[in-house]
Amino acid sequence: MKKIIIYLLLPFLLLSCAKEDDRLFPDSAADRMEQRIKDNLATLQNAANGWIMTLYPSDQQLYGGYTLFVKFQDDGRVTVASELKTTSDPETITSLYTVFPEAGPVLSFDSYNSFIHYFSEPRNPNGPVELGMGGDYEFMIMDAAPYETVLKGKKTGNKILLTPIAAGENWNTLMQQYVNAAGKMDFLQGEGNIGGIDVIVQKGDARTLNFYYSGNKVQEIPYHYTPDGLVFYKPLKLGGVEINALLYVDDPDEPCLLDAGDTDTQIIITMK
């Protein structure tokens, strides 16, 4: 009898009720994504005078970077200005945008805006017919903060920065400074010494700088213009120093480029 009871009870050993797992996060993944999108949208829209957007098309940054101004409105529209505006273009073009969920929040310029989509349009004569300049108009939002928002191009993987435009700054005046910068820094070649190594700097076909040194070595650095100089997409590393940007000194007798960082690098412009 005792045996029978033991046998009868035996199956109970097999059972165990799964205890509720402690949740790592209080909300579901979908809720957290929804919240993150709301937060990101608020950050984008809260820049009252919009953002300076530095867009590098092409997964190899073949053409360097370009400056756009973008203002995200709460009615789902975005107003854009471009340094590549031609005389027949309006000052700004307004189109639609969405922030939608994928693996993370994605900012998409999802109706046509020639200032933005110029960089991704096939048949753009700067690139192959089916690709154009190979730029993005969908960006993963990596980090959104009022002082800087970091995006990553979905196709190119390029890092795209948004920095807020100061309140009271006039868009047209500010954009003119970017346009003028590209005009006045029209040098072709310069010479200097970086970290003890003699270099010759030449402008590439688009917005790239080629640094030649030690015989036949070369580093190609994509850059974009700011009113003060040239900012690099990735740092130039040479002779133990790192250079991220160059200031342009518009001396009529001896125009030159100076490291915007803490080295005393100077590149004398030898050919304009």
């Binding site: 579901s28 979908a30 096939p122 154009g132």
Partner: protein, 289 residues
């Protein structure tokens, strides 16, 4: 041992029943969230003019998961999307409403979504795709940003793709395929027939009609009712006696198929759609009424 197994077998169901855990309540909130978009004037117009009468969703904003990712595409322009949506409704969908007497025909048979793309789908040799009807469920309109009200073939494209869909729903008669039989040449149609005249003489209304019987069928359908009788006659004259005979025998099959399978009178459809084509040139496509 046998006894042991017996006891276990007897008690197991009971213990499982007794020991079953309390059931978790289902969360009533969906984990699938809608993309947060602010509804605009065009969205409301589309709901009233496409969703309610025809159950058709117009996707005019770029959604890469809906598009063909083997191409580099750009989104459609808002204003051009408005114009095309208005034109397609007036000159395309409503032509069928008028001929069939209700919105049911389009509601029941038309693809359920439109996707508007700003650029063409450009291949590396420079050629482009202008439109596509995927599996009868989605119609893709490329080159929306190049739309010109006075000079476009958007509605012709809609009719062409719709021809494919009708064909897929009720297969065309086998007789049709046998008329041109081995004359179909597939992808080399444009090198095989370098001019429209050459195609016509071989019994194809356009070079592309020589691609396959399926294309030939829908081209015969669309070309007939979207040309005036004078234009149609001119095509047949260019085709010569042999070409005319081949085209006409295919046309008669298409005509009978549309009448018998779909209750569509192609002559009536021609009258209505050509009238609407003319009227559409003067339509204000920019106002969302």
């Amino acid at each position: 041992m046998k006894k042991f197994i017996l006891y276990v077998l007897i008690t197991l169901p009971a213990t499982l029943w007794l020991g079953s855990c309390s059931e978790d309540a289902l969360n009533s909130e969906s984990t699938i969230k809608e993309t947060p978009r602010v509804e605009n004037e065009f969205d409301r117009w589309l709901f009233k003019n496409y969703v309610i009468p025809y159950n058709i969703q117009v996707m005019y904003r770029m959604e890469d998961i809906e598009s063909d990712m083997s191409y580099n595409l750009v989104p459609a322009e808002y204003d051009k999307s408005v114009q095309i949506a208005k034109l397609v409704r007036f000159a395309g969908l409503e032509a069928f409403d008028e001929v069939t007497g209700s919105q049911d025909f389009i509601h029941d048979n038309f693809p359920k979504s439109f996707l508007f793309i700003g650029s063409g789908a450009v291949r590396n040799n420079g050629s482009e795709i202008l439109g596509a009807a995927e599996g009868g469920e989605k119609m893709i309109f490329y080159r929306v940003n190049f739309f010109d009200q006075q000079n476009n073939d958007v509605v012709g494209l809609v009719f062409h793709e719709f021809g494919h869909i009708l064909d897929a729903r009720k297969p065309r008669p086998k007789d049709f395929d046998e008329v041109s039989g081995s004359g179909y040449v597939g992808d080399v149609y444009d090198t095989h027939y370098t001019s429209r005249e050459a195609a016509l003489r071989a019994g194809f209304l356009t070079p592309y009609a020589a691609h396959s019987a399926a294309e030939d069928f829908t081209i015969t359908f669309g070309e007939y009712f979207y040309h005036t009788s004078a234009e149609w006659e001119a095509l047949l004259t260019t085709a010569g006696a042999d070409g005319r005979a081949i085209i006409m025998s295919k046309f008669e099959i298409v005509y009978a198929y549309m009448r018998d399978e779909w209750n569509l009178d192609l002559d009536e459809l021609r009258t209505v759609s050509l009238r609407r084509k003319d009227e559409a040139k003067n339509l204000d496509l920019t106002i969302l009424d």
